[in-house]
Symmetry: C2
Subunit: 367 residues, 2 copies
């Protein structure tokens, strides 16, 4: 399979927001469309915790991306008009430098010697890519889920480098319920004997802990309402190797098992821990001393905040908080609460609901 | 510490609802107040998954019970008027026979040779205690959480043995979200190497898995709204022995850790698995072929269904389903949705909200 992935390596020491540095980190990114001569049509997409930079297919890589139906010629984020960039988050494991990468100073994997990761670091490293591409000011930052907080980090530290913001199922900072979920997910991984304080064999990683963590993730990514409609109390038919009564017997259990097995083999456990922790740490209020002060640092001429009624991880109350905050600095702020039943993940799976509102955002500001 | 616990041992084989039998099982129970001569003032309380029969203090045991503020002289379940019984569920580990008990046939602990447990078995074994006490017909069955389903099992199989039903934060059957939560809790315990397929050393049980499971439980017993108010993004001050960045740093993490450690040492892991699985299995629709048919089998002259707005484990939609079903067979059915923020556990901790409605129930039907 060919790849459209491009690599940018920063020549020098990248100072981390909290403490420490990375020597010559690499950022993997993909882009679609063309930068215009005015260089004012660039859209930067910050994804959630899990995805790679492969948000959509292209000539270089025909495999479907994680937002395939959203980005492309004639699609809501129209690559005939916009130059679209997606960077694999710093700290992730799909090409960008993270805990699974080799530390050039030691020639060994960073593992837990990787410095504390914050979403400010994710933002700052994406800025390096944007600058490398010769762009001074982005037309729009799109931030989905964790990526919305990374995007806020980008805008609050570089207010002149972004004109518009599209926040999707995100927040100003994590509430304790989300912190509790992620903390428990991390504990599941750390409790797996194979984790070995982060020094696991790459060929024998802590997949049990990762599988458990992913299942808990799925419970917060989707919704009880969706599952009630979709599974009810239907029994599973594909369960094999049941050795006793406590193994899955309902369809919902088999669904979770299948999803979790797929994910666990794809994502590095330590990278997951770092990105999960970074999601807990981010707080717009740290930029100025309060949420209001954080918002005041922003300069944006248009903001749309989209949330979903059934989202329990980034619930509607947090969407309203975002919209209220943006309103204080940008009169052209709009809050859209979608009536999707697939919870937090709706922006990835309820495309019929999301496409029109995202199309509307870009059409109305590309006149 | 003295105990008010009484033990009843059934003389014979107790046939389990699904399959198998228990030889001479023991049921632990407590009672408060006096049975009147008409024997028509008995109230049977079915508790949730975790509690013992010690619902309230008494002359024999002055330690506070799990519903201390609800049961007693002059309290909402008034022991000056009612004879109140609480049985430790069959399958539990606080005196009643369960997977941690010795199998009289082998002289060894049952462990996973314990037959599949259902809430019908919990109900049927409680009936043995009620009959042993010389009671033909209960004034009221009170069922909290899982206990509400046990209570439904009691009423549907012995419709002439109960006059009134008080359902608290319960359901007709589990929805897939709750099944997913409990399935993952069981998997956490089973994934702990110390579980050893159920054959753990009683002095070295799978406490890591149990601790993880309890934390997930807490997330569904309380509410995101409560935690946002209570903890916000407050940092923990009591964290010790932190060896790296992924250990708890927020107050909500420290709160969960403290709760989970306490619970894990108190509850037997296998008993937990059995009761958790029983909660998934119960379905009123199995009694008659549909929910409507299940309800039709009931004979009740008064029903009150109480639920809580922020309950995610037994959500409001399930309270309405219960009330609608009861209404079809009992014109004196009332649904009360309380605006508590502590989620599913509100009936244990928001006493100011629950006391008046439970007092009203008993006062109005003891005239």
């Amino acid at each position: 399979m060919s790849s459209a992935r491009q690599m940018f390596t920063f020549d020098g020491n990248f100072r981390m927001y909290r403490a420490g540095k990375l020597q010559s980190p690499t950022l993997a990114y993909e882009s679609w469309g063309e930068l215009n001569t005015a260089k004012d049509n660039a859209v930067l997409i910050f994804g959630g915790l899990s995805p790679s930079a492969h948000a959509a297919s292209s000539a270089g890589d025909s495999s479907p991306g994680w937002w395939e139906e959203m980005i492309g010629s004639g699609l809501p984020i129209d690559t005939d008009k916009f130059f679209v960039i997606c960077v694999n988050s710093l700290g992730s494991c799909f090409g960008s430098t993270g805990a699974a990468s080799l530390d050039p100073e030691t020639g060994k994997r960073y593992r837990l010697t990787f410095p504390i990761l914050t979403l400010e670091d994710v933002a700052e490293s994406a800025l390096l890519v944007v600058e490398h591409l010769g762009i001074d000011c982005l037309h729009t930052v799109v931030g989905c889920s964790m990526g919305g907080m990374s995007g806020l980090g980008y805008c609050v530290r570089h207010p002149d480098a972004v004109k518009r913001f599209l926040s999707i199922s995100s927040a100003t900072r994590a509430l304790p319920f989300s912190i509790a979920v992620r903390s428990l997910q991390r504990e599941m991984i750390r409790s797996d004997a194979k984790w070995k304080q982060g020094n696991y064999d790459p060929d024998d990683p802590p997949v049990t802990g990762q599988r458990l963590a992913r299942k808990l993730g799925m419970m917060t990514y989707r919704s009880a309402e969706e599952w009630a409609q979709r599974f009810g109390r239907e029994r599973a038919t594909d369960i094999t190797g049941t050795d006793h009564q406590f193994v899955a017997e309902f369809s919902v259990e088999s669904y979770l098992e299948n999803h979790a097995v797929k994910f666990s083999s794809a994502f590095d456990a330590n990278c997951y821990l770092y990105l999960s922790h970074a999601s807990d740490l981010f707080d717009l209020a740290e930029h100025g001393g309060s949420l209001a002060a954080g918002f005041e640092r922003l300069k944006l001429e248009r903001v749309v905040v989209i949330g979903v009624r059934t989202d329990t991880l980034y619930p509607p109350v947090q969407q309203r908080e975002l919209a209220d905050g943006f309103s204080s600095i940008c009169s052209d702020t709009q809050l859209i609460e979608l009536d999707c039943i697939r919870g937090h993940d709706s922006f990835l799976v309820e495309m019929d609901a999301f496409r029109p509102v995202i199309r509307e955002f870009f059409e109305s500001c590309s006149d």
